[in-house]
């Protein structure tokens, strides 16, 4: 740390590291988080996933499998 150019060398190393880090993060974002990878999940999407969308409504059956209540 005593040689005269250490501040400049440190700045250069830090600049390289920051550039590499930003590039790596940008690559990860592009690979996994960019808008084309979004699959918005909200109440409606959950409704469709759990097969309870209003369009899928059917008349509830009464105890369809013939089982009793939960003990």
């Amino acid at each position: 740390m005593n040689h005269p150019g250490w501040r400049r060398a440190l700045r250069r190393e830090l600049a390289w590291l920051m550039t590499l880090k930003v590039a790596a993060l940008a690559l990860l974002w592009w690979l996994f988080f960019s808008p084309s990878h979004h699959s918005p999940v909200d109440g409606e999407a959950a409704s469709r996933r759990f097969a309870v969308t209003p369009s899928a409504v059917s008349a509830p059956t009464s105890n369809p499998a013939g089982f009793g209540e939960r003990p």
Binding site: S39, V41, G43, A51, V52, N63, P64
Partner: protein, 519 residues
């Protein structure tokens, strides 16, 4: 229908990254506490050797800590990338402790770990000890918050499903915070981490003694590891018993699968020490049982039964029937939230909605499920019996071995007879990988035993995955494998290099006071 390929690869990815991350967590927990003990002795006695010990083991702690951070962050990203429906469904509850883990625990730990390394010459003795204690506190708090989130997945309390938002919503943060499963899991996991740290210190110190290097530091380190490790190894057994009792209360299927107990026995049930679970025949061949023990562990009584798998599957069948009612009521409520009949019906059956959702793996509309599909769904509530059976027994066997190991080390340390017993030093060194195996098996018992649920009884795992091409998940999994393999190489290289150099080669012996032959 759900793409099961995405489910399986997403599960594989989370399991691999969690198991990999959990290689570093217990050592961080254990070493941080051992550093506090060593530095406290330094502060109390003023003897420099204890400072050198703290700095040396602290260096190894630092390498491990960095790896733990790098591998932990990626797991939280997976909740968003691979488990978007899980995050929507239960993010209101598990999100809070995970956020607090970052804000309260990790920030504390990460801030003071810098002061630990760079504050030796800038802080007073007591000031630096406080810093080390805060690093250890941060590590333990970090584990606490993560385990509060995890315990909620094992035993969901203080939350309720909202049909309008289609998600679980928090009712009582206090209940989530003081979830008895969280308390039991935390103390058991933390104690297991302390055992990992103790075995690490014991094994590395044994290696130094075998080579005749750093003898003073190694003997003192072994004394600390032996006493702290013995207390923690005993605690792990006692606290694991509490976890077993709570699982017996809240996750009966997990206990039945761990015990490969197919049929309900007359209470108090016996504990199967050994046997060969046969999933096809639904029996355990050559079972060697100890009377009463399982009943005492799982029910703390001699008159309450531990339900067997067949009875629990029958219960699941009934709950699936009730879950179909809940699902039908939910459909009606989504169409008309003011439907009073549907509201009453949903209220009566909502505790079993998760069981109704199990059917979505086999049929698009649970109301149309056949008896065969219901039977399949009921049997899907049984986790992998042989894996749980053997994982648990190997974990417990290793736990008992650690008690013996530390008790012997404690005895030899008290009698100053480490160097005369090279056989023990070899055993101690060869024991190095064992606590990690025990810790990973414990994690497998806890998490694999939770299957088929993400949230026990509430959300089946297969419904939690994102809608994403399976190729995306394979790509990120391949990235993790490459990245983590590189990290593993770096980690092992750095640890081995630092251990080989040892305290004598790291400049912690001032040259004028270095013992002869050390350099």
């Amino acid at each position: 229908m759900i793409d099961l390929a995405v489910v399986n690869v997403s599960r594989l990815q989370f399991a691999l990254t969690a198991l990999y991350h959990f290689l570093f967590v217990p050592l961080t927990l254990g070493l941080s506490m051992i550093l506090v003990i060593m530095e406290a002795v330094y502060v109390m006695t003023g003897r420099e050797i204890w400072k050198r010990m703290t700095r040396f083991w602290g260096l190894l702690f630092g390498i491990n800590f960095a790896m733990g951070v790098a591998t932990g962050i990626t797991m939280e990203f997976q909740f968003g990338t691979n488990w978007a429906y899980y995050s929507h469904y239960v993010g209101d509850i598990v999100g809070a402790p995970l956020a607090l883990e970052g804000l309260v625990a990790f920030f504390l730990e990460a801030t003071f770990v810098g002061l630990f390394f760079f504050g030796w010459e800038r802080l007073s003795r007591v000031g630096h000890l406080v810093v080390t204690a805060l690093v250890a506190l941060g590590s333990s708090l970090s584990a606490l918050w993560v385990l509060i989130a995890n315990a909620w997945m094992q035993h969901p309390v203080g939350a309720q499903f909202n049909p309008q938002t289609m998600r679980m919503e928090l009712l009582s943060f206090g209940q989530v915070l003081f979830n008895p499963v969280a308390q039991a899991k935390f103390v058991h996991t933390a104690a297991a981490g302390y055992v990992v740290g103790s075995v690490f210190v014991l094994a590395v110190s044994a290696w130094y003694l075998l080579r005749g290097r750093n003898v003073d530091i190694a003997k003192r380190s072994m004394a600390v590891a032996a006493s702290f490790g013995l207390a923690c190894a005993l605690s792990v057994v006692v606290l694991g018993d509490e976890s077993g009792y709570l699982a017996g209360e809240n996750q009966k299927m997990k206990i039945a699968a761990i015990e490969a107990e197919w049929r309900t026995e007359e209470p108090p049930a016996g504990f199967t020490i050994f046997g060969f679970p046969d999933v096809q025949a639904r029996t355990t061949h050559a079972a060697l049982k100890v009377p009463w023990v399982l009943g005492l562990i799982a029910t703390r009584s001699i008159d309450r039964p531990v339900l067997g798998i067949l009875d629990l599957v029958a219960r699941a069948r009934v709950r699936i029937g009730s879950g179909i009612e809940a699902h039908a009521a939910l459909q009606a409520l989504r169409a008309d939230p003011a439907d009073a009949v549907a509201q009453a019906r949903f209220a009566a059956h909502q505790a079993d909605l998760g069981y109704g959702l199990l059917l979505l793996r086999y049929v698009g509309d649970p109301s149309a499920a056949t008896s065969r599909q219901i039977e399949e769904a009921a049997w899907s509530t049984v986790p992998n019996v042989p894996v749980l059976f053997w994982s648990f027994r190997v974990m417990v066997g290793l736990g008992l071995f650690f008690i013996l190991l530390f008790a012997t080390a404690f005895y030899l340390s008290a009698r100053h007879r480490f160097e005369q017993n090279r056989w023990f030093l070899r055993i101690a060194f060869l024991s190095l990988p064992l606590p990690w195996i025990a810790a990973e098996l414990g994690w497998i018992v806890a998490e694999y035993g939770r299957q088929p649920w993400s949230i026990d009884g509430v959300l089946p795992t297969f419904l939690g995955v994102s809608v994403t091409p399976v190729s995306n998940v394979w790509l990120s999994l391949a990235g993790f494998v490459v990245f983590y393999s590189a990290l593993a190489v770096v980690d092992v290289y750095l640890l081995v290099r630092m251990i080989r150099r040892g305290p004598d080669g790291l400049g912690y012996w001032p040259p004028e006071r270095a013992p002869a032959g050390v350099h």
